[in-house]
Amino acid sequence: MDSRLRSFPDVLLSVENISLSFGGVNALTDISFDIAKGEVRAIIGPNGAGKSSMLNCINGFYHPQHGAITYKGVRRNQMKPHEAAEQGIARTFQNIALFRGMSTLDNIMTGRNLRMKTGLLWQALHIGPARREEIEHRKAVERIIEFLEIQHIRKAPVGTLPYGLQKRVELGRALAAEPELLLLDEPMAGMNIEEKQDMCRFILDVNDEFGTTICLIEHDMSVVMDISDRVVVLDYGRKIGDGTPDEIKKNEAVITAYLGVGH
C-alpha cells in the first residue's frame, strides 16, 4: 500500500549521535534521525533493538551517555521527564502504566495536571477558581472520552478494564496533555484486528485534526506501512534504515535484518 505522500518542511526534534549503554550492554549506538513537525514517524526493529530506549531518551527518562537532542530549536544533552512533559511531549508505555487505583476519568484528568494551577487553599475550599478550573478541564477530558469512544467506562477503575481498553485510556491520558509530540510505544500490541483498526483511526485522527506530531513503535508491518510518513529502522542499537515506507520496503539491509526474519 502507498504511503500518504505529504511534505513536512519543519523539523520538530532531531536526535544527534545518541549512544546509550547499560553496564556492558549498548542499547543505542550513535543514532541520528529527525522528526518533522506534523508527521507520523515510526520506529521499527526486532526485539531488543533499542526502540523503547530511544523513546525513553527523547522524553528524558533515560540519559544517553553521548549525543544531544534538539527539540523545538533547543539543544539539550539531558532533560528531566517532567521538563519534557512541560515542553509538550507526552507518551504511552509498552507495558501499560496507568494509575490502577483510579477511574478512567481521573486517569485522563491527570493528563491535564500541568494546566491545573489553583493552589492549596482554593482546592481546600473547592470554590471559585478551583471549581471553575475543574469543570473547564472536565469538559476537555469529556471531549477526549467521546473521541476515544470510552464513555461507558468513564467511572470504572482502570485496573478492572480489559487490555485493549486500558491502552485506549492510556492514549487518552497522553492526549489530555494536548501534546505537540506524542510518543507511542507499541500502542497496538496484543490487540485483535478490530481493536487495531480503531487504534489506527484514533492515531490518524489525532494527527489530522490537531496536527500532533506522532512517533510510534510498532511491530505490525502492515500497520506501520499504512499509517506512517517515514520510518526509522533499528537493529542491535544501530540505525540501519531511514525513509518512507516504500524506501524501507526496498532497503536491502532492512530486508535481511528484519523483514526477512519471521515476516
Partner: protein, 355 residues
C-alpha cells in the same frame, strides 16, 4: 425510601462532581450531621461524650490525616503519635505563652501548622526511600519526637515528668466548659476538616497524590513533581494529625504527658486506617469507630453472656480481635470496612432484582 440512582440525571459536570452525587446519600449524610449537632446533645450522657463520641471524633480526624498520606499518597508512616505530640505541645505553648491567643481555633491551627512543618522535614527521606525503609525512617521520627518532649524542658514548661495541663478555654468568646461544649466544638471542627480533606482528594492535588501512589514513574513522566507532591501530602497529613493531637490534649485529656502520644498511638491510628479502608475518608470514620467501640463492647460482653471474665482476659481478647481484623483486611480487603459498605450498598441498589 429506595436507594436508587435511576431518574437522577446529571445535567452538568458540577452536579456530577458533587461530593455525594446520589440524592439518598446526601440526605443520609446531612441527616447524620444534623442529628449529631441537634439530637445528640439533648440525650447524651457524660460517659457517652467522654468515652465514645469525643475520642471517636478526634481519632477519626487523625485517621483522615494518616489516610491522606498512606491511603492516598502511598507513603507509609509510623510517626503519627509524634506528629500528634507536636500539635499538642505546639498548641500548649501558644496557649501558655501568648495569652492573647486564647482562642482554641487559633491554638489548634497553630498546632496543625507546626506539625505540618515537622511533617515536611521528616517527609524529606521519602524522595529516596519507599515502603519498609520509609516506615522505619518515620518510626525513627516517632522516637526522636518522644525524646524531644521528654528532654527539652522548655517545651513542657519545666513541669516534672513533662506533664502539662490546660484550662479556661475559649473559642471566639464561647467558654468551653462541660463535655457537651467540647463535643460540639470538636464536631464542628471535624466536619469542616472532613469537607476540606474531601475537597483536596477530589481535585488535582488528590489526583497527584494517587498518581504517585499508583505509579510514581508514570506520574513523573506526565509532569508531576514527586518530591513536591509527597511533601505536600506529608504537610497536609501532618496538619490534620497535629490538629487532632492538639484536640486530644486540650479537649480529651486536659492534662497529659508525652506518653499519650507514643508509638502505641501511631499503631492505633494506622490500624484504624487499615481496618477502615486505605484511600477512603468514610473508612477513616469507620476504622475509628471500630477501634473505639470494640473495647467498649468487649467489656460489656461477659455481662451479656453471663460469664465471668477478668479484665486481663478482655484486653487479650481485644488484641486478638484487632490482630485478626488487620490480617483479614490486609490480605482479603485492603479497602477495608468502607469497601464492604460500598458492596452492601451496591447490593441494596439492585435489590430486590439482583439480575
Amino acid at each position: 425510601m429506595l436507594y436508587r440512582e435511576a431518574g437522577q440525571f446529571k445535567t452538568d459536570y458540577a452536579a456530577d462532581q458533587q461530593i455525594f452525587p446520589i440524592l439518598q446519600d446526601r440526605i443520609f449524610v446531612f441527616g447524620v450531621i444534623a442529628a449529631a449537632f441537634a439530637i445528640v446533645p439533648a440525650i447524651a450522657s457524660e460517659y457517652l461524650y467522654t468515652e465514645i463520641l469525643i475520642p471517636f471524633l478526634i481519632l477519626s480526624l487523625a485517621a483522615i490525616g494518616l489516610n491522606i498520606l498512606v491511603g492516598y499518597c502511598g507513603q507509609v508512616s509510623l510517626g503519627t503519635g509524634g506528629f500528634m505530640a507536636v500539635g499538642a505541645y505546639a498548641a500548649y505553648n501558644l496557649w501558655l505563652r501568648v495569652p492573647e491567643a486564647n482562642n482554641l481555633v487559633v491554638v489548634f491551627l497553630f498546632g496543625g501548622l507546626m506539625a505540618a512543618a515537622v511533617g515536611i522535614l521528616f517527609g524529606l527521606p521519602s524522595l529516596r526511600i519507599k515502603g519498609f525503609y520509609l516506615a522505619v525512617a518515620t518510626l525513627a521520627s516517632q522516637f526522636f519526637l518522644d525524646w524531644l518532649f521528654a528532654r527539652v524542658k522548655w517545651l513542657t514548661n519545666y513541669t516534672p515528668s513533662g506533664s502539662v495541663a490546660v484550662g479556661d478555654l475559649h473559642v471566639f468568646g464561647w467558654r468551653i466548659d462541660g463535655p457537651a461544649d467540647r463535643y460540639l466544638l470538636i464536631l464542628g471542627m471535624v466536619v469542616v476538616a472532613t469537607i476540606v480533606a474531601k475537597n483536596l482528594v477530589r481535585g488535582h492535588i488528590g489526583r497527584s497524590w494517587m498518581a504517585i501512589r499508583d505509579m510514581d514513574i508514570a506520574a513523573e513522566i506526565i509532569g508531576f513533581r514527586p518530591l513536591r507532591t509527597k511533601l505536600l501530602a506529608f504537610a497536609v497529613s501532618s496538619f490534620f494529625i497535629g490538629v487532632a493531637g492538639a484536640m486530644w490534649g486540650f479537649l480529651r485529656l486536659g492534662s497529659w504527658e508525652p506518653l499519650a502520644f507514643d508509638i502505641n498511638r501511631s499503631f492505633q491510628i494506622l490500624f484504624m486506617v487499615i481496618i477502615g479502608g486505605l484511600g477512603s475518608l468514610v473508612g477513616s470514620f469507620m476504622g475509628a469507630a471500630f477501634i473505639v467501640l470494640t473495647p467498649v463492647l468487649l467489656n460489656q460482653l461477659p455481662g451479656w453472656l453471663g460469664v465471668n471474665m477478668s479484665t486481663a482476659m478482655i484486653s487479650h481478647l481485644e488484641f486478638m480481635v484487632f490482630g485478626a481484623m488487620i490480617v483479614f483486611f490486609l490480605i482479603v480487603e485492603p479497602h477495608g470496612l468502607a469497601r464492604l459498605w460500598a458492596v452492601a450498598k451496591e447490593k441494596l441498589r439492585l435489590w430486590p432484582f439482583p439480575h
